[in-house]
């Protein structure tokens, strides 16, 4: 390694530990959500880490200072070693979170997870057009959620309900909130869809209008006042409607470590899309070395990588230039300012999408919704060229 390279690889001053470990156990999933953030080419990565690999990752991450552990996917309940992994995470002192659609969470499975020491379950609405209809008519989805929520409460777990909000369901936000309260959730995350992966493919159908968002926020505030301490409601506005970008992942390589099903370690779950950057695999490298020493985790740490316009910006500490993936998807350059920023020369790309969202939905025959599925995934690979 020559001197220039080692300078480039110098980590930002005082890099803290990877406090949050997201273990994406599998890309397999019984659902077909149109906003899924799993990579569009997930079907090309069917390889999954073994139980032993995951146990080693948990031990290494805990030794490196990780304390929150999320088991996610895909649908993590499709791994039949989930209980083994939760038990080890618990033994190591992690706070363990299961992020699930609830499909497959039987009473037996819940009891086994409880015995393993699982601390918390985040239950998501599985939402596609058909299931949305089910939900709105309070039939199938409601029954499943009711059953699963009852199991969660019976085991004494705190429950976070997560609902990805978008153009097709945002007008029913009052019903979503009331349902979360009826199911006794402690927290409700109304997370507007972020436009990555499958959601980016469907952006024109999913991005709500400004009027829809304002109405939903107003209703959310009314419900907050009505329900008080019974439930904490988080409402995340889509960043396309902001003038400054989000501080993505609270800073690159600052808090979050994602391990994908095949063992690739990423600073966020979508960073694998970035070109010209290699990310290490937990099969080849210890978690501590991955976090502190790998090129992938050091590339966008701090502000040394920034272009002049970002580096000289008075707000750079607030947002660290926004999201690298969004910059790459919308401008082709992962080191550009996130074009959500109104100082970005590419802001017009975001503005154009927002302008389209104020009009009518595109007719279905012009732009059908793309449902996440292995078949669809195999048909597509890189999506960036088509949306720029």
């Amino acid at each position: 390694m020559n001197d220039t390279t080692s300078l480039l690889l110098q980590p930002a001053a005082q890099v803290g530990p990877p406090l949050w470990l997201l273990a994406e156990l599998t890309y397999r999933c019984p659902l077909h959500c149109v906003f899924c953030y799993n990579p569009v080419d997930f079907a090309h990565h069917p390889d999954e880490l073994s139980t032993e690999d995951w146990l080693r990752v948990l031990r290494e991450a805990r030794a490196a200072g990780s304390v929150q552990c999320g088991f996610s996917g895909g649908e993590p309940l499709l791994r039949d070693d989930l209980e083994i992994l939760v038990a080890e995470a618990h033994r190591l002192g992690f706070y363990t979170n299961l992020l699930t659609s609830g499909v497959g969470l039987t009473e037996d499975r819940a009891a086994a997870l409880k015995a393993a020491g699982l601390d918390h379950i985040q239950l998501s609405f599985q939402d596609s057009t058909r299931e949305l209809n089910d939900f709105l008519s309070h039939t199938r989805t409601f029954e499943l959620k009711q059953k699963v929520a009852a199991i969660i409460k019976a085991n004494g777990w705190p429950m976070v309900m997560n609902c990805v909000v978008h153009r097709l369901n945002i007008d029913y936000i009052d019903r979503i909130i009331d349902m979360a309260v009826a199911l006794d959730a402690e927290y409700l995350e109304l997370a507007n869809s972020q436009y990555y992966s499958w959601a980016l493919l469907n952006r024109d159908q999913l991005l709500p209008s400004r009027e829809q968002i304002e109405r939903a926020e107003r209703i959310t505030n009314e419900r907050r006042a009505q329900y008080g301490e019974r439930i904490r409601i988080f409402f995340v506005v889509p960043d396309y409607y902001e003038n400054r970008p989000k501080k993505c992942m609270n800073g690159w390589g600052n808090v979050f470590l994602t391990v994908t099903p095949d063992g690739t370690a990423l600073p966020c779950h979508t960073a694998g899309m970035l070109p010209g950057l290699s990310f290490p695999n937990v099969r080849d490298m210890d978690v501590k070395a991955i976090w502190y020493d790998s090129e992938g985790f050091n590339r966008y740490r701090g502000d040394a990588w920034m272009k002049d316009s970002c580096r000289s910006c008075p707000d750079k500490e607030k947002d660290l230039g926004g999201c690298r993936c969004q910059a790459f998807m919308l401008t082709g350059d992962p080191a550009a300012a996130d074009p959500v920023c109104d100082k970005s020369p590419h802001r017009h790309v975001v503005t154009a999408a927002v302008d389209r969202a104020q009009g009518q939905l595109p007719a279905v025959h012009e732009a059908p919704l793309v449902f996440r599925s292995p078949e669809e995934s195999r048909r597509r690979r890189a999506i960036t060229a088509s949306v720029r």
């Binding site: 803290g16 530990p17 406090l19 490196a64 200072g65 304390v67 929150q68 999320g70 002192g93 706070y95 979170n97 601390d119 918390h120 985040q122 705190p158 976070v160 402690e186 927290y187 301490e229």
Partner: protein, 92 residues
Amino acid sequence: MTATVTEPVVAPRLSKKFRLQWEDAQHAWVLLYPEGMVKLNQSAGEILSRCNGERTLTELVADLEQTFDTTGLQADVVAFLRMARQQLWIEY
């Protein structure tokens, strides 16, 4: 409810919604909850780790003053417990 947590005979305890744990990697007590963490400064950690539902406020203050060989901590402890109650970290 918020005010009464600071009565001398009340014995505050950590809410079941949170887990308090010492983290070597951070050299700090942390409060863990679903998908989140609060890193406590030293005095907050020393106070919260003594909120076991048995020690009254008076005993808690005495314990701290003895441990750190000082006096006059009552006002700081009361202020912290008020805030902790607002955050729903403690019950009583």
